[in-house]
Symmetry: C2
C-alpha cells in the first residue's frame, strides 16, 4: 500500500511546490519508488522536473480527474531515478468549475489512486486554494504536509486550513490528519522568522518538524534549470535541509 | 466615475496584497478617496489594515457578491484617512462553488460597483486563482495591475493570465487590458532577479512600470502591526517604492 500525502496550504507562495519536488527527490534517493501528483494548473512541479506539459486534456492530471484516464497511462518518468510524475496542465483550472456538478466529485483522485501501484510514496502538490481540486487531494491522502512560510500573513490562513482538514476527516476521509508542519524560507537575520517559529511550535507541538528549510536562493534557481535543488546543487543549504526532512519523516514513520 | 483596477496574478505569494494595501494608502495620501475591495477568503488585506473580519456572511465582500448587500452598507473606514475597505471573510471560499449555478455569476461585483460612489480609485485584491471570484474582479475592472515576483516559477503563469484577460476583454468586458506589470521582491544580490526583469521588459515593454519594489523585510513586518508599511515605516525602501509607484501611475494617467 502506498503512503499518500497531500502538500497543501491555501496561502500562496509558501513553498508547496519546492517541498513537493525536493522531498519527492530525497525520498526517491532512498531507493523507494515515488509518484508526484501535480494538481496545480500552473504546473510548476511538472516544469521543475523538466517534464513537458500534456498537450491534450486527456493526458495528465486533468484526464485522470475528469475523463477517468487510468493513472498508469498518464504518469511520466522524470530525470530522477525512481521518481515518476502525473503532470499538470492549464486544463486543470477548468476542473474547479466542471467538478461542481459531477457525482462523487471529491473522490475522483482517491478512486484513481486505489489500484495499488508500485509506489511506496505518493506526494500531491496542491494549488493555493481550498476548492474541489485540493479537496480531491485531502480525500485521497492519509496525511497532510503543511509548508508554512515564516511570515505574518502565512499564519493567518492556518486555522481555516485545519478546520477544512477536520471537516474532511469527519465526513469524507476518516483518519485524515496533519502529518506535519514544515517551516520554510526561514531567515536567521529576520526576527519575524523566529517569532513565527515560536508561535507555530506552541500551536502544533510535536507535529512541527524539527528540520527547518532556510531561505536559500539556490532553491529558487534550480527550477529554471528544470532540476530539483538536490540534483542542481546537492551541497547547498536548501537541498541539505530537504534531505534532513526526508530522513526525519522516515524516522518518525518507523517509530510509530 | 471611479477608476477600477484589479490586482491579479494566480501565482501565489507574489505581492498582490502588499501592493493593494500600500498602493491604496499611497493614492489616499494624495487626497483622493480610495476603496480597497478584498476578495481573498484569507482576508489578508482586511487584517493588514486592522479591520475586523465580518462575523456574518452578509457583511463584507461575500454579502455584496452573493446576497446583493449594497456596497455602501458593507464598507468600513480604515485607520488611513481617505481609504475605505470592503472586508473579506472565510465565507468567500464557498462563493467559488456557489456562484457556478447563478445567473450573471461573473457580473455580481460589476453590478455592485455600478452605483457611482465617492471613490476616485477602487483597487481589488484577488485570491491566487483564476476562478469565478477573480473573474468577477476582471469583469468589474477597467485595467489589471499584475504584481510579478522576480522568480522563475512566477514567469510561468504569465501566459495563462494574459490569455484569461484577453478572453474576458473579448466577451465580458471590452476594453479590459493590463494597466501595468509591477516587479516585486527584487533582490539586487541575486542574478535571477535581473534575469527575470530583463525577460519581462522584453515581453511587456512600456506596460512594465519603471518603479521596482525591492525585497524589504519591513514590508512583511508591517501587517503584524495591522498597518501599511507606508504608515509603519514611511522611510523604508519598500514604502518609498510604493510611493514612487503611485506617482508613476498618476503621471501615466495624466499623460494619456
Ligand atoms: N526556502 C526557499 N528559499 C528561497 N526561495 C524559495 C524557497 N522555497 C521556495 N522558494 C521560491 O519561492 C517561490 C514560492 O515557492 P513555491 O512556488 O514552491 O510555493 P508554492 O506554495 O508552491 O506557490 P503557489 O501557492 O503559487 O503554488 C518560488 O519562486 C520558489 O522558487
Ligand atoms: N517586497 C517585499 N519584500 C519582502 N517581503 C514581501 C514583499 N512583498 C510582499 N512580501 C511578503 O511576502 C509574502 C507574500 O506577499 P503577499 O501576501 O502580499 O502576496 P500575495 O500575492 O497577496 O499572496 P496570495 O497569493 O496568498 O494572496 C507576505 O508575507 C508579504 O508580507
Ligand atoms: Mg505551487
Ligand atoms: Mg494576497
Amino acid at each position: 500500500m502506498s503512503r499518500i500525502l497531500a502538500i497543501a496550504n491555501q496561502k500562496g507562495g509558501v513553498g508547496k511546490t519546492t517541498t513537493a519536488v525536493n522531498l519527492a527527490t530525497a525520498l526517491a534517493a532512498t531507493k523507494q519508488r515515488v509518484l508526484l501528483v501535480d494538481l496545480d494548473p500552473q504546473g510548476n512541479a511538472t516544469t521543475g522536473l523538466s517534464v513537458p506539459k500534456p498537450a491534450h486534456a486527456a493526458g495528465g492530471a486533468y484526464g485522470v480527474l475528469m475523463d477517468g484516464t487510468p493513472i498508469g497511462q498518464a504518469v511520466c518518468r522524470t530525470k530522477v531515478p525512481g521518481l515518476d510524475i502525473l503532470p499538470a496542465s492549464a486544463h486543470l483550472s477548468g476542473a474547479e468549475i466542471e467538478l461542481v456538478s459531477i457525482e462523487n466529485r471529491e473522490k475522483k483522485l482517491k478512486n484513481a489512486l486505489s489500484a495499488p501501484g508500485a509506489y511506496a510514496y505518493v506526494l500531491i502538490d496542491c494549488p493555493p486554494s481550498l476548492g474541489l481540486i485540493t479537496l480531491n487531494a485531502l480525500v485521497a491522502a492519509q496525511g497532510v504536509l503543511v509548508p508554512l512560510q515564516c511570515e505574518f500573513y502565512a499564519l493567518e490562513g492556518l486555522s481555516q486550513l485545519t478546520r477544512t482538514i477536520d471537516r474532511v476527516a469527519r465526513s469524507l476521509n476518516p483518519g485524515l490528519a496533519i502529518e506535519g508542519v514544515i517551516l520554510t524560507m526561514y531567515d536567521r537575520r529576520n526576527r519575524l522568522s523566529a517569532q513565527v517559529a515560536r508561535d507555530v511550535a506552541r500551536h502544533f507541538g510535536p507535529r512541527l518538524y524539527q528540520t527547518i528549510i532556510p531561505r536559500n536562493v539556490r532553491l529558487s534557481e534550480a527550477p529554471s534549470f528544470g532540476l530539483p535543488a538536490i540534483v542542481y546543487d546537492m551541497a547547498c543549504p536548501g537541498a541539505q535541509a530537504y534531505i534532513r526532512l526526508a530522513k526525519e519523516m522516515l524516522r518518525r514513520e518507523r517509530d510509530i
